[in-house]
Amino acid sequence: MAKVNPDFSETLKDYGAFDLTACYNCGTCTAVCTLSDEENSIPRKMVRYGVLGLEEEIQSSVDPWLCYYCGECSTSCPRQAGPGELMMSLRRYLTASYDWTGLSRRFYTSKIWEIAAIMLLSALILVLFLLFHGPMTTELTPQGGVQLNTFAPWKRIETGDWIMAGILSFFLLSNIFRMYRKIFHGPQKIRVPFRLFFTQLWELIFHFLTQWRFSKSTRTTRIGRKELKISPYWVSHWLLMSGYVLLFTMIVVFLEWFQTDIIHPWWHPQRLLGYYATFGLAFGLIFFVYGRIRRDQENNKHSHYTDWTFLVLLSGTVITGILVHIFRISGLPYATYYTYVLHLMILFPMLMIEVPFSKWSHLAYRPFAVYFNGVRNAALKIKK
């Protein structure tokens, strides 16, 4: 029994869906979707659930996570019902529904909440620096670099990092647990042999590292005369993702090694890894920001304000990060200090808001969805 919520389609509009009730169930979208298969038929089913407002069914479904928004369905939809954007909005909605704090829903449905939260977290960083920063020495290191570790000792920063990582993990993991509950203990109850959670574990790791499904979904693009077999979306996304993960690991786990006052030669792994990560992030960012400005594809035409918040914060972080590096090795102490504070004032709210409550949570939800889906389908197969 699935209960209709007549007001749901309105709610979903806050999450970015539009015109979904125009859908007349032709199924074209599902027919053209390269990721739709027998086990997970997308996206018409989800469009229908959205139209009727079958909330329980939606919340217990992994399907929205299996879509990588190539936009093929939206382009083909004879009613311009925007099935692709609907899947996007459902991902936002699911993120909000996994989140037990309710903050995610606030951020997705209220600009004021989101901006206020960013301001507050930035202010917190500023206050912490005012209280705890070290001496702002103008003395340079023998190599002529800025003594950043004197102004912001890595030990102190690392403590902060660990506290932040703890908080992030707590929220994210508890939300993933709720995701698990909804999927496996929703209206469609499935008995899953426990071992499947181990045998399917490779999916989680594999998809986290490669986003393999993404590479299968997105269209190849034409460059000049040549049909590019590898999707530029996937490449850009992978570069961005790998850069981010690398940097996050270096900041949280290897800060002592990463935030040093020594200026290593250019081939030193510390510099090379840093440059690679910066390049990956910057490339991805430019690609996606440019797309969202051009609005020439289905998947970048309809930007929710939270998409922009994310891109702006991440760009801010990357730009200030690059500047800190340049100022430090160029021996500009004050510029380095102020930019460093600014860097953290952008970075901190970005991670605190985006990772557990907003767009960036998909870095966990997507591989987990693929993993849960694998477990579920394997369980269903056994049942048969």
Binding site: A2, K3, P6, T21, K45, L52
Partner: protein, 748 residues
């Protein structure tokens, strides 16, 4: 009309055998046909022609007739469907009575049917032509019957369909008596607000038609009236109208009316509002009353007289019922439909408060323009259930009501416009917003109205749920999942049904279909005519229609009616039944079988006899075989004419038969044993039939009953068994008045 019964006459007959390009002559040896019939009695001229229907050929036929003084003509060519009228015209142009013309079809019946056997095709053609000649020898002149027609029509029902018809007829110069059962005109359309498609309101359409009707001098409108008897026939019906008293002589002013209504103690359910409220016995339809004169519902009024004081002499409770009789050339039936009334408990109707019908919703919207409230609760969510009383798997209402998908979608659009925030769910069985109406469906689905589809053979379920109501269905569009909706109101999209008016059906003697609607003669070719000449049907009394379709059919009927009666006379085919009053004993069998009511009982001297009403007879011939006295003949197809044709065809066959019999006779005389050997050769079914006859003679239905062989098959098997001498007629009838058959003498 000639009283000729087709006895043989000395005639000069011209015979034309057509090549039809090669269509005929490629298989049938036309020259051989010509030679074979040249010396046939009565034939004075035979020709073959390449295309008999060509202009040049027609011209020379006219000359032949004139020069040779021919008095009958046979053309052996194609089907009479194609050229009967062409050659009748040739005869007429040559001064010959056109009914002295016979067309023999040797194309479809010989050359095309037997193209693999040209010799036999030729042989058959010869026989067919001879049969035609034999008939031609016996033909007499016939003349189309001219009857007088009154250029006046009675239009029954003054809904939009009746009023449109009346206006159109009046415009073409036909006088109209427009008869409406209710005190107010307009029918159902006057109950609707904005109607699809376009911007017009239903009541506005009615108002416009009514205002126009009032200005026409040659339309007489009777409200509160009905047709209670019809006599006569096409061109000259005698129609009896019964006029109910209205009770109100002069319009009451608003104050008088309010006060009189206040005083009236009797109230009934208000049918105009589909029972959403009650009204008094003295009532009107507010500013939607056409005419604007109030009326008294004498079904409800007890004549207590309490309203009289306030009415200042404008009410008369003693008005009598009146009947008047009018002559009319045609009758147009436009009595409309009734919305389907769900059974108690059908989708919770009548049991759950929140369940209403689409017509009720329409009225509710009219009564509550600002805010839609049902049982003190503001309505936010509505579930429509489609096809209620239509498209049912069995019973009377298996048809689609056509108007309702669009009306429901249109209602949803208006709900959205007039009561922002209302959301609707449409539980349908496959949408049928055909033609241009599709754009409304498109608009409605884009506007956030949700459509769900239940499968043929399943139905949504409506149940009480605490304070409210819940609807469940298996939605085809959601993978067949069971879906549960909790609306504030459930609207049953009820279909159209035929009006339950057996009196009218009986008075007009019109056939009705299994669905209860009046039947036309031919859905495609004669869509507004009935089997009763001069009686037309249009609008929704004929079947479900929306307003546009209603108007269209109504205009078609007026065109047909006016064309028929406006010339003053109507000419009818002369192929009619005639009854020999000497032989007739009035058993009434012909009257029973005639579906056109063309037989009347008349006094002839001191006995009663049947007489054919010429204007009503269609010449179908159904009465001929039932007459035990053989008193009926069909002009143009008299017994003698038909027998002569059979003889001509059978001539050769009889000859062949004779040879066969002679051969048989030459062999030793038939014995019991031979009989058995002969029977052994028959197939199982024929043996079975013979076995049933062993005890005693039996009639066809009895044999069919005993053997389980269908009646038709028994019939033709018997005929061949008789032909080959296994059985014979007894010339006796059983208790059920069927002829019986017995084993032939050979068997004994």
């Amino acid at each position: 009309m000639s009283e000729n019964r087709g006895s043989i006459k000395k005639k000069k007959i011209g015979v034309y055998i057509c090549h039809c390009g090669g269509n005929i002559s490629d298989y049938v040896d036309v020259e051989a046909v010509k030679d074979a019939v040249r010396d046939h009695p009565g034939v004075s001229l035979v020709k073959t022609t390449m295309f008999t229907c060509s202009d040049s050929s027609q011209v020379s036929m006219v000359e032949d007739i004139r020069e040779n003084g021919l008095d009958a003509m046979v053309v052996a060519s194609c089907s009479p469907k194609l050229h009967l009228m062409t050659f009748r015209d040739v005869a007429r142009r040559a001064g010959l009575n056109p009914y002295n013309y016979i067309q023999v079809n040797i194309r479809e019946q010989s050359s095309w049917a037997h193209s693999d056997h040209p010799a036999e095709a030729t042989d058959k053609a010869i026989h067919l032509v001879k049969a035609g000649i034999e008939k031609a020898r016996r033909l007499g002149d016939l003349n189309p019957m001219e009857i007088e027609a009154v250029n006046r029509a009675v239009v029954v029902g003054a809904g939009i369909s009746g009023m449109r018809a009346a206006l159109e007829l009046a415009g073409m110069g036909t006088e109209v008596f427009l008869v409406e059962k209710e005190p107010f005109v307009g029918g159902h359309t006057s109950q609707w607000g904005k109607v699809f498609q376009g911007e017009a309101r239903g009541d506005e359409i009615v108002e416009r038609l009514y205002n126009e009707v009032r200005t026409r001098e040659n339309i007489t409108l009777f409200t509160g009236a009905g047709v209670t008897a019809v006599k006569g026939n096409v061109g000259n019906f005698e129609v009896t109208l019964t006029l109910q008293p209205r009770g109100v002589k002069e319009r009451l002013t608003e104050e008088e009316f309010a006060e009189a209504v206040q005083a009236c103690p009797e109230s009934v359910e208000d049918a105009f509002n589909f029972g959403l409220m009650r009204r008094k016995a003295l009532y009107d339809r507010g500013d939607r009353s056409f005419p604007a004169l109030q009326a008294i519902d004498f079904g409800a009024c007890t004549q207590c007289g309490k309203c009289l004081e306030a009415a200042h002499g404008k009410i008369d409770l003693e008005q009598p019922e009146e009947t008047i009789t009018v002559q009319a050339g045609a009758i147009l039936v436009n009595t409309g439909f009734d919305p389907y009334e769900p059974e108690k408990g059908e989708f919770g109707y009548g049991e759950i408060e929140e369940v209403i019908t689409l017509p009720q919703l329409e009225r509710l919207m009219e009564l509550q323009p600002g805010k839609l409230v049902w049982k003190d609760k503001e309505i936010r969510h509505i579930a429509f259930i489609y096809c209620v009383g239509s498209r049912q798997p069995e019973g009377k209402n298996t048809y689609c009501s056509r108007y309702c998908c669009t009306a429901a979608v249109h209602a949803a659009l208006r709900l959205g416009e007039n009561y922002p925030g209302i959301k609707t769910f449409h539980l349908h069985k496959g949408m049928r917003t055909y033609g241009k109406q599709e754009v409304l469906y498109d608009e409605a689905s884009r506007n956030g109205n949700v459509f769900l589809q239940f499968a043929e053979g399943t139905q949504p379920e409506v149940r009480k749920n605490g304070q409210g109501v819940e609807v469940r269905l298996h939605d085809l569009l959601t993978l067949g999942k069971e879906i549960e909706i909790h609306p504030d109101l459930v609207v049953l999209v009820t279909g159209m049904t035929a009006r339950n008016d057996p009196g009218l059906v009986k008075t007009l003697k019109l056939p009705v279909g299994a669905d209860g609607f009046f039947n036309e003669v031919h859905m495609k070719l004669r869509p507004v005519e009935t089997v009763m000449d001069g009686i037309y049907i249009s609008g929704t009394c004929q079947g479900p229609k929306n307003i546009t379709e209603t108007m269209t059919s109504s205009l078609a009927a007026t065109a047909k009616a006016n064309a028929l009666i406006s010339k003053g006379t109507i000419s009818l085919e002369p192929n009619l039944a005639v009854i020999d009053e000497e032989k007739c004993v009035w058993c009434g069998k012909c009257d029973e079988i005639c579906t056109y009511g063309a037989i009347e009982k008349v006094k002839k001297g001191d006995k009663e006899v049947a007489r054919v009403i010429n204007a009503a007879c269609k010449g179908c011939g159904a009465c001929l075989p039932v007459c035990p006295e053989d008193a009926i003949e069909l002009l143009g197809y008299t017994n003698e004419e038909i027998f002569s044709m059979i003889d001509a065809i059978a001539e050769e066959i009889r000859f062949k038969e004779k040879h066969k019999v002679e051969e048989e006779v030459a062999t030793p005389a038939a014995t019991d044993e031979d009989w058995h050997i002969k029977v052994e050769k028959l197939d199982e079914k024929s043996k079975k039939i013979l076995r049933t006859l062993q005890e005693e003679p039996r009639a066809v239905p009895e044999i069919a009953g005993e053997t389980g062989i269908p009646v038709k098959e028994v019939m033709y098997r018997l005929m061949s068994l008789r032909k080959y001498g296994y059985v014979k007629d007894t010339n006796e009838i059983n208790e059920d008045e069927y002829y019986t058959y017995a084993l032939s003498d050979m068997s004994t």
